[in-house]
Each structure stands twice: as C-alpha cells, then as structure tokens.
C-alpha cells in the first residue's frame, strides 16, 4: 500500500484535527510502534467503538469517558500483527446511533470539504480522518450505512463486508445482527490489502465466516449485468442524479448490461431496520449500568444507581432508541412489531437473493444527496430516512461499497454497489475499475476547497 508516512500524517493531524474534531484520542507520535509485515507503515485510525487495549473506548458517550479497553478487537489485532500502526480513536455518534456525528458527546466532527457540513455518521470521524489524510485508512462500523454514508459525504470509499467476514469481537454492539466493521479508504486497493489480512473466521465470534478470496481478478464490464432499482429513482436528489446517470452511461459504454429491477418492499426497509436495530440495541446497551466499568451516579439501590447513571449520561438519541427497542420487544407488541419486522426482513432477503439470480451487482446511490449543513440537520425521522439506500445490505448481510462518483456544487457525490453474499471480491474489482473510469477520490479531491484535502 502506498502510505502517506507517519510524518505527514502527524503533520495533518496537528494542522486539522483541531478544526475537524475527527480524532478523540491520538496516540503520540513518539509512542507509535512501527510494525513489520505486509501492512508495515500503514497508519490505521480506529472508530472509538472498537476496542484497542490501552486506548480509550468512549463509544462517543459520556458514560464511558474514562473507560480504557482491556483487550483488542480481533480485526485490529490481525492488522497490527500484519504491521499496521494504530494512530488513535475516531469520533462517532454516541454508540454509533446517528447519521451526522452530531450525537457525539465530544462535539461534532466537521466535513473536510466544508466545515459547516456534516461528514455523515456514525463513522464521521473515520471518514473525515481518511479524507483529510490524517490516517492512511480507518475502521468504522456499519449497522445501517454508518460506513458508506460518511464515506459518500467525504468523497472516499466505504466498504461493508458480507456479514461475518470481519469478526465483530471487540466492536461495541449496537445491533448485533446488522453490525459489521467496515473500512474507509481513499483507494479501493487499500481496502483489498486490509481485507487480505483481517478477514475470516474468528473463534471468538460465533457469527464469523470463512473469507472469500480478496485477490484481484480481471474485471470485464462487458460480462457484467448491473441491476438498477426503479423505486429508488424518485428518492434520488437532484445532486446525485447526474452522477448516477453518468455512471450507468460509463458502464453501458464499456459493454455492461443494465437490468431494471423492482424492489416493491423498498418502503418497508426503514421501519424494519428501526424495529430490529432498536430492539437489539435495547439489550446490547443494558450492560452500561454504572456498576462495573462505566461512570456511576450514586443511588441508594441497584435500581436507583442504574437509572441515575443511564439517565444522566446517555444522550437523547440513545435513550430514544432504547425506549423504542424496549417497546417493540414488550410482550404486548412483540408480535405486531418485532416478529413482523423479522418476517419482512426475510422477505427483503429473498427479494435481494432473487436480484442476484438476474444480475451480478446492483447500482444505487449511497445517499439521496450530498452532505447537509450541521446547522440544518433534518429532524429525527427525516434523518432516519437518510439510510434508505444503505440499509438493505445490513438487513440481508450482503456486501456493499460506497464509491466517489463525482461532485455536485463542490461536494462529493457517492454511489453504491451491492453484490451477493461473499462476492466481496467482485465489488472491490469493480470499485478499482470505476476508480479509473468514473472518478476516484484522487480525481475529485482536486476540486476540493478545503486545505485539508
């Protein structure tokens, strides 16, 4: 991997992190341990909900302000063993719940393309750090699009592997059946190199699976059938449409077959996601009770202590989702909400399996528009709708990659490719071809007005 070098990276951190607030914790340059192996020299930023022994693990929450991880996540362990060096912990929405990194207890992260704007979320710190060259590559987590949406807003690549391909051991759980560690990078080739080292079964994660091959294969667009989803067109903003059409045109010219697909269940994905994700979150976040390792508000009993600690330090969005999740799992509503959502999830999975009987990949926008201004953040529900294009890959477990495909009004526009389960290699091959033939980060960064890029 061509790396920026520690010196430049620490120079960039010193110059821009104050303004962008991407890193929550920076490992001092003199304490970096250079590693040996295929990833030697790679500076890795890690989202602050992934455990690295000895570094903080705040999850963007006040509740974990003083918590230091006692062990290292499998993925980080593998990357470090291959020579990568962890440069620090990156900002996020509290417990990865958000789409703009505005729900971090440690302040907003800003978009390097325009500091008034959001870098997206919840892996906003990871996206901003990679785009502003404050690390070579970063780990994020993607539960409903939290890697792909910020990558798209910051003009970089954001990849969510097939569920299970990267071990979740060490990733603070938000919604276990949807969560995947993902990778944010300036070049698709970087992602490939990381995956060759990090992917594969882990004895500490029962849901992990054998990795498919990540070796580069010749990509011939003429042999490709690319699906496009009719129902998505009306949800595509004017900022995205031209890049989308241009990408289709490029693929067509190269000989690809464009196949129109129908996804009649598209308008259920947000609801299904909200029910399942909040239900799982309500249990996953129960462990933060003020007893063992979190900040503790003193109460006279276990119940009081727990209620006071959670009440005081959880943010509003986290509370909202815990309440919603508790509600949909309660005995009176389990059947009509949770169970129903689980069934519709199966319908959606079957629909996408059917797609991949007809096509090799599905092309969609990554987001409906470009990065919005932090001061103009949509209301809670409108913000949930941001994830319309990215959620299906989480519900189905399928791999997806957001890639830069141009700019609109000097802001990056991202599109997304989704492939069938374990066809991750194909996605990375396609992304490499698109980098050359559409518009990679290297091309669009020249249009950027921020000196960080």
């Amino acid at each position: 991997m061509e790396t920026l070098g520690v010196k430049d990276i620490y120079g960039n951190i010193a110059a821009h992190n104050g303004a962008l607030n991407a890193y929550l914790q920076v490992v001092p340059e003199e304490r970096l341990k250079p590693g040996a192996g295929p990833l030697s020299g790679v500076c890795l930023g890690v989202k602050d909900n992934i455990a690295v022994a000895g570094l903080q693990l705040t999850c963007g929450s006040k509740l974990l302000e003083t918590y230091v991880a006692p062990y290292t996540a499998t993925v980080v362990e593998r990357l470090v063993a291959a020579g990568a060096t962890v440069t620090g912990k990156l900002n996020l929405d509290e417990f990865a719940m958000g789409s703009a990194t505005t729900y971090s207890a440690y302040g907003d992260t800003k978009n390097p393309w325009d500091e008034e704007r959001t870098p997206g979320g919840s892996s906003g710190g990871s996206a901003a750090a990679v785009a502003a060259k404050m690390c070579d590559i970063a780990l994020g987590s993607d539960t409903g699009g939290s890697v792909r949406q910020p990558a798209s807003y910051c003009g970089i690549y954001g990849y969510k592997p097939t569920y299970g391909t990267l071990s979740r051991y060490g990733l603070t759980a938000f919604a276990s059946s949807l969560d995947q560690i993902g990778i944010l990078a300036r070049r698709p080739g970087h992602i490939r190199e990381l995956m060759q080292v990090a992917a594969g079964r882990d004895g500490r994660d029962a849901t992990s699976i054998e990795a498919p091959s990540f070796d580069a294969q010749a990509f011939d667009p003429a042999k490709m059938r690319i699906g496009v989803i009719a129902e998505y067109e009306k949800n595509m903003g004017p900022a995205v449409r031209p890049a989308y059409d241009r990408c289709i045109e490029t693929l067509k010219k190269a000989g690809a077959t464009i196949v129109p697909l129908s996804f009649p269940e598209y308008d259920t994905v947000i609801s299904v996601y909200q029910v399942i994700a909040t239900a799982e979150a309500s249990a996953n976040l129960a462990r933060f009770d003020g007893i063992r390792y979190t900040a503790r508000a003193e109460g006279c009993s276990f119940r009081e202590t727990t209620a006071a600690s959670r009440g005081r330090w959880f943010g509003a969005e986290v509370k909202r989702r815990i309440l919603l999740g508790t509600w949909v799992l309660s005995r009176a509503y389990y059947d009509s909400y949770y169970l129903r959502a689980a069934k519709v999830r199966t319908v959606i999975l079957n629909r996408w399996k059917e797609f991949f009987g007809k096509v090799d990949m599905v092309l969609t926008p990554a987001t409906a528009g470009t990065a919005f201004k932090r001061a103009e953040q949509p209301d809670t529900f409108a913000l949930y709708l941001e994830d319309l294009f990215t959620i299906p890959a989480n519900l189905t477990g399928m791999p997806a990659i957001a890639f830069p495909a141009g700019t609109h009004d000097r802001l990056p526009v991202g599109l997304q490719l989704t492939a069938d389960l374990s066809r991750d290699g194909l996605l990375l091959d396609a992304a490499a071809w698109l980098e050359k033939n559409v518009m990679g980060f290297a091309t669009i960064e020249r249009g950027c007005r921020h000196d960080a890029i």
Binding site: N49, I50, A51, L57, C59, L64, Y67, A69, P70, Y71, A73, R168, Y169, G170, L171, T172, A173, A175, S176, S177, G203, R204, D205, A206, T207, A279, E280, S282, A283, A286, R287, F288, D289, I291, R292, Y293, F302, R303, T306, T326, L329, S330, R331, Y334, Y338
Partner: protein, 479 residues
C-alpha cells in the same frame, strides 16, 4: 369437608461441570479466589461476544437422553432481559423459544405404591449469574460463577405430594451427579437448585388455581416438608374462605414454614428475543446417537433389571440405585463367583459399607473377587459367621484372597463331616447321665451337647451340621 389435591411442578437448575464456562474459555472453577476466572466475555465488557462450549452441548444432550426427552436438532438461544446486579450484561442467554430437550419423563412411586410417570416439559441450556455477597451496606460481586453452564429441567405439574417431589428431585440428582457425572452435586454451593410451583384444588378437579413459587427447596432433608407445609397453608387459607395470593415464598428451615419473599404484581416481561450473537444451535442425529451409546444404564431400567436378575431386597435395591459404584462392585463380585447373590449383596451392603464410605466408593481397595470368594466360603459352610468376620478383617488388612487366608491358617480349616460325626459320638459317649435325661424327654439338653461338641471341635465345625449329628447320635442310643 372438601378433600384437596396438590398440583406441583419443579424447576431444577443443574450447574454443569465443564472445563470452561458456557460462552467463554474461562476455567469453570467458581471456588478460585474471587474474580480470578473472569474475562471480557463473562463480565460483559463492551464488544465481547459469546461462543458456545461444545462440551456443554454434549452434556446437555446426554442429560436430555437420560431423562427420556426428545432432543431438538435445532434449538434457539435467546436473551432474557432484566436488570440485576449479578447479571453482567443485564440479560441472560437462555433457551426460551426452542429448548434443546422437550417432553421427557421420570418414574416416581406414589403413596399407593404404584409407579407413575412424571412429565418433563423442557430442558434448556443457560448461563449462571455472578455471586453476590453482602457486607454491611455494600454488595460484593464475584464473577467466577458468571457464565457457568446451567441446565434447567422444568417438570409438568404432575407431582402430587412433597414425598413425590423429593423422589423426583433425588432421581434427577442421581442421574446428573452419579450416573452421568456432569454435576458436582454440592448442594451447599448451589450446584443443584430447586424451586417448586404449588397450587391446590378439590380432589378430582382439573382446574389450575393460583400458585405460589417456593424458592430454594434444594435439600433432600426439607424439600418434602417445605412443599407439604405450603400445601397445608394453602388449604387452610381456602378453608377459611380466603384466596391464595400469587407470590414467591421461601422455606425457613428453623421455623419450619414458608414465608413471603415477594408478591408477584403481574407477570414479568423479559422481552425475549433470539440471541443474534449465537444463532440457532444445530446438531445432527448422528451426534445424538453417538452420545446415546455413551449413556450408562439409568435408574428406572436398572432397578427393573437388578430385581429380576438378582432377586435382592428393596433396601439393597435402593442402595445400589443410589450408589452406582457400590452396585457395580456388587455386580462384579456376582459375575466372578459361584456364591449366592444374596450372600454377596448382604456382605457388600452390610460388612463392607460398615467400613467403607459409600459416597466415595471408587477408592475401595478390596477387590470384588475377594468378597465373592468369602461369600463362597460362607455358602459352602467352609467357615461360619464369626470366622467370616475375622477373615474379612484379615482380608482387608493383608489384601489376600479369603481362600488363601483359610488355606494358610489352621484356625479356619473346617473339619469334615466324618470328624464332626466322631466328635458328636464322643461327646454323647462321655455324658451318659445327660444322655439318659435327654432320652427321658429333656430335649432342651440338645444345646448342651452341641455346645460341648463345638468346643471340642474348636469352633471349626458347622454348628448346624454338628447339631444334626449330635441329635442323630442321641437318637441312635435310644434303640
């Protein structure tokens, strides 16, 4: 006056002894210094994930098979959500929607002496909690126990009395601890815990009335008493025109009564859902069949076989069923000997257990062949009772075979029938006056002659034979 019957169901938690905890690879020894055997998984650290222990699955399947239950090839792990200080994640991983085992059965003998099958509704796998200790106002938590494998066995409400419940509990204890060896069986340390759900109804009714739950009746000494007391208490309430309240009660062994622990206000809502970190548990029919071949013979079958094969008494049957090692010893002795089963059973259950600990019988030094050979000496009247006891003592001390002991020690060489007859004749000849009296009708003098004869034989004659020959000799004089 209305007659009542009780409806009782038991929930038994069996702590399974495995090398590791259920979902992490921490050592399963909860007696280590506090918080020694812990890791990110069993303390619920952020990002830690459960991975199921194969050994736990195998032991759960064996228990299901031993309890005659159907083993579900696909079962689910589910989260049971509730906040409690000893729950690291504030949810427990359990099997709610589909347990590993369904519909088993065990036999109990009712008050009428008739054997009845008690249904087992479900057998499921779950994780134990941490242990809390209270120190003044503070609560200390020891996570060594957190995540230890537990199996819960839930019966149908088929039990009718404290005595039946005690039998059922004991049987599960025997199977888990003594037959399968999957549980340490230390009740003080909570290796087996038993809660009873109890309600009453007019005899013959099929109604299910409000029940109470009596917690922690896990002692053979008081389980029957605690349940019977609760039945009496409920009857007294209903007889007085009152209503039984739904509540959790605790047995107070000092005052010999159950006491309110907490009222149940509505049902708890545990918000169960499938555990996404584990996914469903799938096992194959071949795996189950392979484990079936590792099962020992189980109590109900064993009792039937022992009764038929050996014709031993009920007391000995109970002993052999309750102590498989003693039973195995008995059966080995029986297979190697030409002695009678009853003599071997008597000596195993009698003399041997007077000096050996039945709870720790594996360590017994005396080979079963020696008990068998002693029994043969007894059966063939080569030695008498007092001699047998003396030989038993020498055998244990020296480790020699009783046959050898007898052969090498002239004291135990019994005299033959000819010599016995000669002594009998000599004694009668030496006591003409007594002979006269005997023949004159004083038949109780027979004991005197036998005593004299045995003395002369130095105890090495068979007393019965001697008695027979003396009598014969005396009768001959009459002619």
């Amino acid at each position: 006056m209305t007659r009542y019957e009780a409806v009782i169901g038991l929930e038994i938690h069996v702590q399974i002894q495995t090398a590791t905890k259920a979902f992490c690879r921490c050592e399963g020894d909860y007696n280590a210094p506090p918080n020694r055997n812990i890791c990110p998984v069993c303390t619920g650290a952020p990002g830690a994930l459960p991975v199921l222990s194969d050994e736990f699955v195998a032991r759960a399947v064996r228990l299901c098979l031993a309890l005659g239950a159907r083993v579900n090839l696909l079962s689910t792990f589910d989260r049971k959500n509730y906040f409690y200080p000893d729950m690291p994640k504030n949810y427990q991983i359990t099997q709610f929607f589909t347990p590993i085992g369904s519909e088993g059965r065990l036999l109990v003998t009712g008050a009428d002496g008739v054997e009845r099958a008690i249904g087992i509704e479900r057998i499921h796998m779950e994780e134990d909690t941490a242990r809390s200790a209270h120190l003044g106002e503070r609560t200390l938590l020891n996570f060594n126990r957190a995540g230890l494998p537990l199996i819960e066995v839930v019966s149908h409400p088929d039990l009718k009395s404290g005595e039946e419940a005690a039998q059922y509990f004991k049987k599960i204890y025997d199977i888990a601890v003594k037959y399968l060896g999957i549980c340490r069986g230390n009740m003080e340390e909570g290796n087996l815990r038993c809660d009873a759900n109890i309600s009453i109804r007019p005899a013959g009714s099929t109604a299910l009335n409000t029940k109470t739950e009596v917690k922690n009746v896990n002692s053979f000494a008081f389980i029957a008493k605690a349940i019977d007391h609760e039945i009496e208490r409920q009857i007294a309430i209903v007889e007085a025109g009152g209503e039984v309240e739904s509540e959790t009660r605790l047995w107070n062994p000092k005052l010999k009564r159950t006491e309110t622990m907490r009222k149940k206000s509505g049902r708890n809502d545990y918000r169960y859902f499938n555990e996404p970190d584990l996914g469903p548990l799938r096992i194959t029919a071949e795996f189950v069949e392979e484990l079936r071949t590792t099962l020992p013979e189980l109590p109900d079958d064993k009792r039937r076989r022992l009764r038929e094969a050996y014709g031993i008494n009920n007391e000995q049957l109970d002993l052999f069923i309750g102590y498989p090692a003693v039973c195995e010893y008995f059966e080995r002795a029986s297979s190697s000997a030409t002695a009678s089963f009853s003599t071997i059973a008597a000596w195993t259950s009698g003399e041997l257990l007077r000096v050996e600990d039945k709870e720790n019988f594996g360590a017994v030094q005396t080979p079963p062949e020696h008990i068998a050979s002693l029994a043969r000496l007894i059966d063939t009247k080569k030695v008498n009772g007092p001699q047998a006891k003396e030989i038993f003592a020498i055998m244990r001390e020296t480790g020699s075979d009783p046959e050898e002991i007898v052969k090498n020690d002239p004291r135990f060489t019994a005299i033959g029938d000819d010599e016995t007859a000669a002594i009998a004749a000599a004694v009668v000849a030496d006591h003409p006056a007594e002979t006269e009296k005997y023949l004159g009708g004083r038949e109780n003098l027979l004991g005197f002659f036998v005593g004299q004869a045995m003395k002369r034989a130095k105890g090495k004659a068979d007393p019965a034979k001697m008695s027979e020959l003396v009598k014969k000799e005396l009768t001959n004089r009459k002619k």
